[in-house]
């Protein structure tokens, strides 16, 4: 009976101090919303980075990149020569290499559907990245054709004009039609579509990896780029424990073939899982140190607002505490009242903060194509933190006030 009355009275009291209650709610709302947003999005980004890295890299991989070149964006001016023969030599001389695929890249090329009209005008067109690869690409990159088939070794050795197109390109050029066996123009060269690439999605750089087409490496080199170098290659190593050693072997072979004397730096770049783990570690440090730190700061700022308000609330209400004590409130009744007031204000703000933070996180996640990111951990952390701030800020001073002799509390101003 008595407790029920006290609980109701606490809520009535919150209503009476509307402005201050609202400000307390806002204080906890801001912090919790920021925390939920940052931790959720951070977790989503981390998952995305890790899955993409695993997709591209895998545990048993060594990447070879031509000096000054970038695997995904193609050769740069002055790039050192890395050739198909270099890689063939590596595969021959390093027995730990189980399989390999080399790449050459044309970062953007106009792609058109070859129309029925003889002029070749009027068909739907797109711009996409063109990647030249060998028939071993599906195995080495773990990405094959989902419709039709990937081209074979014969297509590579004969520089055949066949192409496997990404889903985005397929949609832009063919809509819902089946593109297999259709003709497309990559630049001025016509190709026959033999397959559609497995969906990949967006990679860590925000690049749509379905917006690309894959042609035989030799075709890309001779017919599209007119080069005799490659941009890079990916080697699969027999045992994941040996990638470092294999990396050293590969470097030795390449330096020898490029005639680099000792002391001269490599004119290529090797990436093994040691480097990748270091990169992932950097990403994780940002996500799990700096972002939560930022969120923690906002939570603290919100908490400080609530705390200041609760403190001023209690000190402005010492005489109220005196009155309540005079008419028979026990010290623990006062404590209960302030506990309920501060906890319910903090929790109201926290719940709203979680809702808004989660909504913003989902929105951000959708834009970044992260999938669903809401983190239960963030939600719980936010609720608990705001509750702790509310309690510490409200209940401790109330407790002190409740312990005063009522005569002293009554004598207080306010």
């Amino acid at each position: 009976m008595r407790t029920g009355r006290l609980v109701l009275a606490a809520f009535a009291s919150l209503r009476r101090f509307k402005l201050r209650s609202a400000a307390m709610v806002v204080g906890s709302f801001v912090g919790v919303a920021a925390l939920t947003l940052v931790v959720s999005v951070g977790g989503g980004v981390e998952r995305k980075v890790l899955s993409t890295v695993r997709q591209i890299f895998g545990e048993r991989s060594v990447l070879v990149v031509a000096g000054g070149s970038n695997l995904l964006t193609g050769p740069r001016a002055g790039a050192a020569r890395l050739t198909l023969e270099d890689l063939e030599a590596v595969a021959r001389e390093v027995p730990q290499v189980e399989a390999w695929d080399a790449q050459q890249i044309l970062p953007a090329a106009p792609i058109r559907r070859a129309g029925p009209s003889t002029t070749g005008e009027g068909g739907p067109s797109a711009t996409a990245r063109v990647v030249g690869q060998t028939e071993r690409s599906p195995r080495v990159w773990s990405r094959t054709a989902s419709g039709g088939a990937f081209f074979d070794a014969a297509a590579v050795s004969s520089s055949a004009r066949v192409v496997v197109i990404g889903e985005t390109v397929a949609r832009e050029l063919f809509g819902s039609e089946d593109p297999v066996d259709s003709e497309i123009l990559v630049g001025p060269v016509s190709f026959r579509v033999v397959g559609v690439l497995e969906r990949f999605g967006t990679d860590v750089h925000g690049m749509d990896r379905d917006d690309e087409v894959v042609v035989p490496l030799t075709t890309a080199m001779r017919r599209l780029l007119n080069v005799d170098t490659i941009a890079g290659a990916k080697l699969l190593v027999r045992s994941s424990a040996r990638t470092e050693a294999v990396g050293r072997e590969v470097a030795r072979v390449l330096r020898e073939r490029h005639g680099l004397p000792p002391g001269r730096p490599d004119d290529f770049m090797l990436i093994t899982d040691v480097q990748v783990r270091k990169m992932v570690g950097n990403v994780q440090r940002v996500l799990f140190l700096f972002l939560p730190l930022a969120a923690g700061v906002s939570l603290l700022a919100g908490g400080a607002i609530s705390a200041a308000l609760m403190l001023s609330s209690v000190s402005a209400r010492v005489s109220e505490i005196g009155i309540r004590r005079a008419v028979g409130a026990r010290p623990e009744d006062i404590r209960l009242q302030f506990l309920l007031e501060s906890a319910s204000a903090a929790l109201t703000g926290a719940v709203a903060g979680v809702a808004v933070g989660a909504a913003l996180a989902e929105l951000a996640a959708r834009r970044m194509q992260l999938g669903s990111v809401l983190s239960v951990r963030a939600v719980l952390l936010g609720l608990l933190a705001s509750l702790a701030v509310g309690l510490a800020a409200g209940v401790l001073p109330a407790r002190r006030a409740a312990a005063l002799p009522p005569a002293e509390a009554l004598a207080a101003r306010g």
Binding site: M1, R2, R5, L6, A9, A12, R16, F17, S319, E320, G322, I323, R324, R325, A326, V327, G328, A329, R330, P331, E332, D333, A403, P405, P406, A407, E408, L410
Partner: protein, 223 residues
């Protein structure tokens, strides 16, 4: 009913000499008395009333309710005693400014062990003649009306003892007279009432007057 035994209360404010607010007060108050405590400002009247009502503890000495010393009770037991046995009226009214008259009067009931508190506040407001102002906030009431709300609050839990510290100190003489009449009526209905006052008229209306000087009882006379 109540016995005060050799009460002493000293204050030692920071950086000043010790003040003996109560310096050996012994007093018996019988059930049904209407007692006035008078004396110069600073003589210790409020201190005495606070100690009597367990709003403050004496430095030494005893406060006996029905023969039992209550100064050693836990804060929890003292709170219950204040709630059930004592009603307070203060010079500054001490109403909660954001609560209505009814909510203010209900305050002691909130902390009581009663099962139902229905209509008790209305009844108390009726006794003080403010049944029609139950929904008003203190700022919407005159000083006299606010003090009557405070008296209704003191009465609502039907205490044996009402302690009033200069209840008419903030009121004009006509309103003060009304409050005094109210006390007389309550006393006639059997309540024990102790009033601290500066007002000679108030003291004269009481059956017994205790004069305090420098924390001691200087005189104790019945009319």
């Amino acid at each position: 009913m109540i016995e005060l035994r050799d009460l002493r209360k000293t204050y030692t404010p920071k950086g000043s000499a010790t003040v003996r607010a109560l310096d050996g007060v012994s007093l018996r108050i019988e059930r049904g008395e209407l007692l006035a405590i008078v004396g110069a400002s600073g003589s210790g009247k409020s201190t005495l009333l606070n100690v009597l009502g367990l709003l403050d503890l004496p430095t030494s000495g005893g406060v006996l309710y029905d023969g039992r010393d209550v100064t050693g009770l836990s804060p929890r037991e003292q709170a219950r005693l204040r709630n059930e046995k004592i009603g307070f009226v203060f010079q500054a009214f001490h109403l909660l400014p954001r609560s209505t008259a009814r909510e203010n009067v209900e305050l002691p009931l909130l902390y009581s062990e009663r099962r139902s508190i229905d209509s008790l506040a209305e009844r108390a407001l009726e006794i003080v003649g403010l049944a029609d102002r139950a929904g008003h906030r203190p700022s919407e009431l005159s000083g006299g009306q606010q003090q009557r709300v405070a008296i209704a609050r003191a009465l609502v839990n039907e205490p044996d003892l009402v302690l009033a510290d200069e209840p008419t100190g903030n009121l004009d003489s006509r309103t003060a007279g009304e409050i005094l009449e109210l006390f007389a009526k309550l006393n006639a209905a059997g309540r024990t009432i102790v009033v601290v006052t500066h007002d000679a008229g108030v003291a004269k209306a009481c059956g017994r007057t205790v004069r305090i000087e420098d924390g001691r009882i200087a005189s104790d006379g019945r009319a």
